[in-house]
Subunit: 139 residues, 4 copies
Amino acid sequence: MEKYIYSLEMKVRDYECDIQGVVNNANYQHYMEHARHEFLESLGVSFGKLHDEGIDLMVSKITIEYKRPLHGSDRFAVRINMQRKGAKLVILQDIYNLADGNLATKGEVEVICLRNGRLTRGEIFEELLGGYIADKEVY
Amino acid sequence: MEKYIYSLEMKVRDYECDIQGVVNNANYQHYMEHARHEFLESLGVSFGKLHDEGIDLMVSKITIEYKRPLHGSDRFAVRINMQRKGAKLVILQDIYNLADGNLATKGEVEVICLRNGRLTRGEIFEELLGGYIADKEVY
Amino acid sequence: MEKYIYSLEMKVRDYECDIQGVVNNANYQHYMEHARHEFLESLGVSFGKLHDEGIDLMVSKITIEYKRPLHGSDRFAVRINMQRKGAKLVILQDIYNLADGNLATKGEVEVICLRNGRLTRGEIFEELLGGYIADKEVY
Amino acid sequence: MEKYIYSLEMKVRDYECDIQGVVNNANYQHYMEHARHEFLESLGVSFGKLHDEGIDLMVSKITIEYKRPLHGSDRFAVRINMQRKGAKLVILQDIYNLADGNLATKGEVEVICLRNGRLTRGEIFEELLGGYIADKEVY
């Protein structure tokens, strides 16, 4: 099994499901955002403090592959890995159904860093997250 | 039929429905909030500008009676009336299904006004909305 | 301090907050719904199974008083009590900020029971939840 | 300017914005879903009727590039084109800010078709949407 640097367990809430009884597609993006924020919070990274220093992290692209839908009350885990890709940080976020271990969605989130409103080369990612970023670059 | 001072037409989006195929209860509150903001925008009232002057309008209480659920793709109207109740502004917000004219929900939203963080007697409501507030007070 | 029959701890997710940095008003209703469903699930009550027997529980009215807003990352608990009110079950749901113990919102949810689409006198509430319903009726 | 086969105009609702005052990333996916459903509804395609015939259309992958954020009250248009890619239908969905004509997000949604739970070669896409699918295949 693939290894991850972070995992957050959650449970589907009924209001997140649509008429088919499965989690609405957009809500996986909510799960992924929440897991990223929890991960950063666990490292002591604060968006607010960064912003006060003129630094803003922004999602520039997101890709989600939908494998097997989650249903109401399902327990699941959002698992995270990270890689550099030039000026971007690529956050790999896979969601697993904890009942059967199956992959529910496979996601990739590209994040860029602005300093005083201008795109940086992403040096900040190493400063903030150095130990967690996989060695191999993605091209 | 009851008369209203404002009406906003909208259409149910599928992602707002839950597994029963009806609009999730919390989403009616979203519809009501959006209609209030559209109404204020139509009057040129800006939350941001008020906030810069130290004035904040806040919802202190909400009551919603659920009569007949809306379904996916239903067209509906959120209709508004307003009354004073001491320091509070009471915004009456009824949602009608436009297909059959039936009442879907009946809502009442109490709003208070803070100036520099302290509760006011609500004089600002008359200033901003005077002509739209019904004569009779609610007790 | 008031006593409750059930308490569910949760944490605010950033996407649940609006431009003021506080939880959007409608999301408290989501928290309350999730807590009710978790409570029923903990008792083994299944909406699906009830529905197959012709029994539907529906929210007929909701009241929420907003006391002190929750902010991003706040931990909170949704606490529940229940009372009968004629044909209705009244679910009292208070949300507490766990950082300071303050009441964030005070909610009251009225639930009715339909059998084969017709309003019942609510006998089912005693069957399902008897031991959890407070002795005194609400009038 | 690029040509599209369908365009749906909408307006940002304040509750769709997050603490930065911009539309939360996941909500663009909601806008895209709603536009797809409106487009299909305009053609008389019904998910419910298809489902009763054993046919289910499912999103298998979504990609969104975030260009320039939308803010509260912004008017925007979700514009659609479609292409075949083997068994998949690729729906291109771009969102434009109507105030300045700038591209807000660029999206690509891959849809597959199941018949009685088994993946089809996507012949149904030609049946339902033939006239709207661009001639050139995507590889």
